[in-house]
Symmetry: none
Subunit: 132 residues, 4 copies
């Protein structure tokens, strides 16, 4: 379970944890039925207050991503995979729409936007290639 937290970011730590776990489930790094690290252990690992991790787990349970079995631990819920996958698609879609609308409002033509995106796609691909 590799989770990256940026304590400087303006998005709350508990929200970062929620996102990271949802992302891990969405891409199959955590499968339904898998055990999730206990609150205290993850808190220690991330150098974060246990209450923060607990709040993240609570939110994830409310969203149906995790289930707690008393005495046994916290597990990835059964329908979680599809849930997270769909949610991420939805989020991506709306975020892209928002950014594009912003660019258009700022006066960029569709051609400019397309060109910029193409450029970014290549850059990112190269960076990924280097990382491999």
């Amino acid at each position: 379970m590799f989770i990256q937290i940026d304590s400087q970011s303006s998005t709350p730590v508990f929200e970062q944890i929620v996102r990271e776990i949802k992302s891990a489930v969405a891409r199959g790094a955590c499968r339904p039925g898998d055990v999730i690290p206990p609150v205290r252990q993850l808190a220690k690992q991330l150098l974060v207050n246990p209450n923060t991790v607990a709040k993240a787990y609570r939110d994830l349970e409310r969203d149906g991503v995790l289930t707690t079995r008393r005495g046994a631990g916290v597990f990835v819920a059964l329908g979680a995979r599809k849930l997270c996958h769909d949610e991420r698609r939805r989020d991506l879609h709306s975020e892209m729409a928002r950014v594009i609308a912003e660019a258009q409002r700022a006066g960029m033509s569709n051609d400019e936007i397309a060109r910029l995106i193409k450029q970014l796609l290549n850059v990112d691909t190269n960076e990924l290639a280097i990382e491999q």
Copy 2:
């Protein structure tokens, strides 16, 4: 000077004011040397406490967008246009890069991303066409 504030939004009111004014300067609605509405007047107009507007103006002054002439009022600074314009470009660029990186991390291929973007561009164009 038309400024829209959403008091329900989670982003602070004073930040919304900052953004709106930067946006107005970036698109040329306010030109360097122009007077900005006095703190109390804008506060009354937005149904907001004067201190909140003052905080926004203070931030804008620190960013070099506004300059205050004591007793006379607040004015758009000389280099403000370029400043705001560049900042907006930079923000747009980094936001796009972030969204694209997220999409790639989620397993979307470059082709899928490009197709989605093309689709969104058309949608937005049509919406704009309808609005006209």
Copy 3:
């Protein structure tokens, strides 16, 4: 953290706090990573409204001297030492240049200025010697 505030001074209290903290960082009394007293505590200590201290901290954060970790407190930023040190040198330099330019404009020869400075250096040294 010893901070002296002169509530009679014409320079605003929050600016005095900013200066004092920058000075403490510059001379190494506060090191990067150190905790800064909480807003309310320092406010109580200085007999000042918490908002005033908060304003000072806000400015210091914008200047890169402090960083806030939500819910945890305020800390001296990593690059703060060099930042404050350099700024102080720069300020001193420009102030000296200004005073000397004024003296020359007032018709003092370089020799006169040099003699006066030498005299002042000795006076200050003696005063320091007495204090020890």
Copy 4:
């Protein structure tokens, strides 16, 4: 009567006017008995509110630098030359002492300070030479 005003400066405009006139009297550019430009004329020349100039003249009259003869205008007072000259010397002296004390408090040795001053004296001399 050449007066330079910096409307951006943090020192009030009326104070800048006071200083400039005292400086002119101190260096003999205005001699006792000379007429000073009327409030409205100077205000127009400096692109400043007449009230601001009026306040400056009031302060200068209070300090014994100017005298108003009703219907005739404003004049440099008789003892003004010595007054301004002495005051400037006093100000220069105390400012130098303050700057030097600051430098010492910042940890600069007397040698360092002396070297820096020597350097600044040369720079300023050269700059003046270029301007001539």
